[in-house]
Point group: C2
Chain length 212, copies 2
């Protein structure tokens, strides 16, 4: 098994269906790239981890800033956004987890926030992450920052992530690049597998510390 994994974040119906108050503009366009990434990662033995947001029916586990949207959502659909057990929280068509894939549920932007993701990655000996999904300024970026804070190395896939606004997408990628996150497109990722241009910073730091 490889020491890197593919994380697919929030590719769920409530984020990808036009008409949903949570719709991320253009999110459906990245589905083919994510599919190709999944196939390529599996072919070279790298874990594929699906991360999804879910909330309780009563809304008690929402971010407080999301509470007004929750009420709006409830009025329109008669259910909460990404509510457990509803169709809206399901993975978008074509990106359903398959046997052998991992699924992590979260309540906040970061895939690491109060979830078992860090533990799962340790069990799998994964130290490097490739991020895809929606949306760039929120769940992708919050996950990328937490990943670095937890000493993972990170590459964000520029054309397998999406924001409602294209300029926001690009500027967020730039901000992430500025703190040492790799930015690559789907084609380059797949061409380079399994030798992605990670710098093994964790290994270098360890080498420096132990003098080995």
């Amino acid at each position: 098994m490889q020491d890197f994994a593919l994380l697919i974040i929030d590719m769920q119906k409530d984020f990808c269906d036009k008409g949903s108050p949570l719709y991320v503009n253009g999110s459906e366009k990245i589905i083919p790239n994510i599919k190709n990434l999944i196939n390529a990662f599996k072919k070279c033995g790298a874990p594929v981890i699906f991360v999804a947001r879910t909330h309780k029916s009563d809304g008690s586990d929402l971010e407080i800033t999301r509470f007004p949207v929750y009420l709006q959502f409830r009025r329109i659909y008669g259910r909460g956004p990404l509510e457990e057990g509803t169709d809206g929280m399901k993975f978008v068509e074509g990106l359903e987890p398959q046997k052998g894939d991992y699924v992590v549920y979260k309540k906040r932007w970061s895939a690491f926030f109060n979830t078992e993701l860090d533990l799962l990655l340790k069990v799998l000996s994964v130290t490097k992450l490739v991020l895809a999904g929606v949306q760039t300024p929120n769940c992708i970026r919050a996950t990328a920052y937490d990943a670095i804070a937890l000493n993972y190395e990170v590459i964000v896939v520029s054309d397998a992530t999406q924001a409602s606004n294209q300029l926001v997408h690009e500027i967020n990628l730039k901000d992430m690049e500025n703190i040492g996150i790799g930015i690559m497109d789907t084609k380059s990722i797949i061409e380079n597998l399994p030798n992605l241009p990670f710098k093994d910073l964790l290994g270098k730091l360890k080498e420096y510390l132990t003098g080995s």
Copy 2:
């Protein structure tokens, strides 16, 4: 005591001294605004909390992406960036914590990441935060996102925060505004104290849940 607090993030010499590899361009310019905020918050009985980054001499507690800068820093200064016990980790002149202020040390961008900040705020019954300091895309934004994730309400002070690049500063403020973070300037904050325009979203969610 008020239920809101002022958080001053990373206003330390290594971030504010021109010539430092970690210098945040223009960070010294926000010192007068932060001073005014501190005085105004104290006058109305709101806690003032200084957050600072420190690292061990051996560099073992660095983010891995910061490791190359650590080596560069060591070559120039003969010490690590923000190294414990050195002058570089001290608070910048004019913004030294005074008796009654709180100080929280951190190792990562977010002031909440593996620190006692959340616990301290609970003890103080603080549920709303005003953020100042450097720099906007990293420590300010990571702290703001974690604060919301932890159900705090947040206002970022537009002219008491700073990024090395002005456009990056502005676009980051916009991203934060889009997820429900308040953006205000120093003058409006001070004029409105102690009645800052928080929406009491936590209170509203609780009211909704309990039907009270």
